[in-house]
Symmetry: C2
Subunit: 411 residues, 2 copies
Amino acid sequence: MAKFPPVHEQMRILMRGVDFGDEQTYVNMERELRERLEESYNTGRPLKVYCGYDPSSPDLHLGHTITMRKLRQFQDLGHDVTFLIGTFTGIIGDPSDKESVRKQQTLEEALAKAKTYAEQAWRILDPEKTRVRYNHEWLSKLTFGDVIQLASHFTVQQFLARDNFQKRYQNGDAIWLHEFFYALMQGYDAVALETDVQIGGTDQLFNLMAGRKLMEAFGLRPQVVLTSPILVGTDGVMRMSKSAGNYIGIDEPPGVIFTKVLNVPDTAMRNYAELVTRWSQEEIDEMFRQIEAGTLDMRTFKHRLAREIVSIFHGEEAAEQAARDAARMHAGEAPSDAPTFQLQEALNIVELLHRAGLVKSKSEGRRLIQQGGVRINGETVADLDQVVQVPNGQELVIQAGKRKFLRVTRG
Amino acid sequence: MAKFPPVHEQMRILMRGVDFGDEQTYVNMERELRERLEESYNTGRPLKVYCGYDPSSPDLHLGHTITMRKLRQFQDLGHDVTFLIGTFTGIIGDPSDKESVRKQQTLEEALAKAKTYAEQAWRILDPEKTRVRYNHEWLSKLTFGDVIQLASHFTVQQFLARDNFQKRYQNGDAIWLHEFFYALMQGYDAVALETDVQIGGTDQLFNLMAGRKLMEAFGLRPQVVLTSPILVGTDGVMRMSKSAGNYIGIDEPPGVIFTKVLNVPDTAMRNYAELVTRWSQEEIDEMFRQIEAGTLDMRTFKHRLAREIVSIFHGEEAAEQAARDAARMHAGEAPSDAPTFQLQEALNIVELLHRAGLVKSKSEGRRLIQQGGVRINGETVADLDQVVQVPNGQELVIQAGKRKFLRVTRG
């Protein structure tokens, strides 16, 4: 029965980074996980482990990768991992991290966004060893009678005691009844999958615990739940989320990821270093010691971090290229992959921006110039009527906003 | 198009006794009802009117008859009446009148209790002109997705603002999530029936208004709602309800109804007179004037009321018999329909009560005697060991509790 590594070794890997925000829950869940791993070790049965991801936009982002890496750990240890796509839960949208109601979407919209999810997941998970499931498979089949049964295990007070709902209730902001259904749905996923372990962010603890309650109600052994800390978004304050727009998509081009990481506020650097790098805790602590001592400057650290993150998703080579491009952009030069535009005669700058596709409309172009966001060879354009002409044998580099570059040659 | 009586005449009948506990709602609903009656009058289309009744016990009681009489008025005026049996809503049970959670029942249990409902309804409604429907027909077919849509029209705050839930919330008593579903269900009934008018008790106003909201959401014209005051139970304080056990069933024997009415506290007499008799407001006011002046005693009034109520459901003859029986019972005599038991030899009183079927067990018999609830020819039995023997040519009358009488003859 030596199918799995020894339990103490599995525990060391699997409990790393786990955080419940509550010591007692940690102690309980650690004990339950150990028990279940011991059973698994003795019987040779892999544990069923899953995490759910709602398709609220077509992209997975860095925040998702924290739980995905935990799934990957289970997978590497020989357990049975399900990547669950919340096609049905995505209709409502999880109100866990929200202080206001979400816009509902249709099942069709959710399915469309779910399409690219699984493919993106292979940047972290092993496609050969991963089950992909969609929760509309079972949730859409539940009847009103079934929903009554699910709901009858929860009180309104339990929901209103949650941070997010409590705030909204106290502020007099509307809490729509269907928002309470989200935890029932997620809880029922655990029942349908007859899972051993569910992974989630710390903000998911209520929903994960709902799964334990429902499993018991359905005569199943309640799942072990493991939660990881939350990654903040590029604003450095709010949770990274697709709907807040402060995210770094794992399928974004290397240069974009690199630049986005550089722009994350300094205060969020430890959060990023601990949650989305392959660095050990010791390496991280040492770097922050150096930053505090003034022997490592934050800018250098950020470049190191950006390179590490790009490297995880796109490989070492792409990371190097992104680092080089960033340096050129900083110097006002176009990155190696900037598109080229051939200009035959003199042209107004607004017209040029629009024709070259750097802006969607001329009014956007004018706005960008007025905000000082357009440069030619590093010099800010101040005049809306400026005429652009390429001198013989030369090349102009036009920069629109932080990340869009264009080489202009004489056509 | 003279299919219906003139609108002003219909309004006079239909608005009688209607009460919303809120003047503005009264004004609005009166206007909407008039508009709809005018349309009906002009087009010849009868209005679709319904009231729902949950089968929480197998019996309809006096409290139900108030709305049923309103349905009958619509029926007599030529409109299209549906007697809706809440086979699905009955699973949860309406929390409207409750300050604590109800026990859920299964659809099978609800269906079993619903069986006798329609038959009992013919004591008030015209079976030839009444549609009988069961709301599990449409509610059991709704999916989780449908329930989400229904719920998304209501906020948690709207529910918690309701009296009953507010009290429980403030007292820290559990409010189970599924209790909020009741209003959604009742509201969806109105959608499914595409109703013009829904009738209910004043405590149903929230549920009825939920129907208006959902009809609008489904692109239907919102129903007119009409509510009637609530009848108190035989305790004179709480709403008459099957689950509270303070009810007078319309299918109970005439003598039982008669006695139960006599035992209703004096303070509830006006409520009964106004809600469940055929007396005019003028007649009622006159009687209460006499009671206050001391020219009519409450006991005489109660007999009159009891006789009127029995007469409504069982006819004049049965009412007279019940009145005579009550007088005899008061005098310790057995009513005319009391069963006869033939006793050949001396028998212990407890044994006799049990064999004759007056009590379900000997211990019940002993308890009844200890409480002073057993009489022989009007004399209270004090001794558990008393031996009963019928003298030659005589008859004994044994009374067990208030209403059970037995003639004992020498067999």
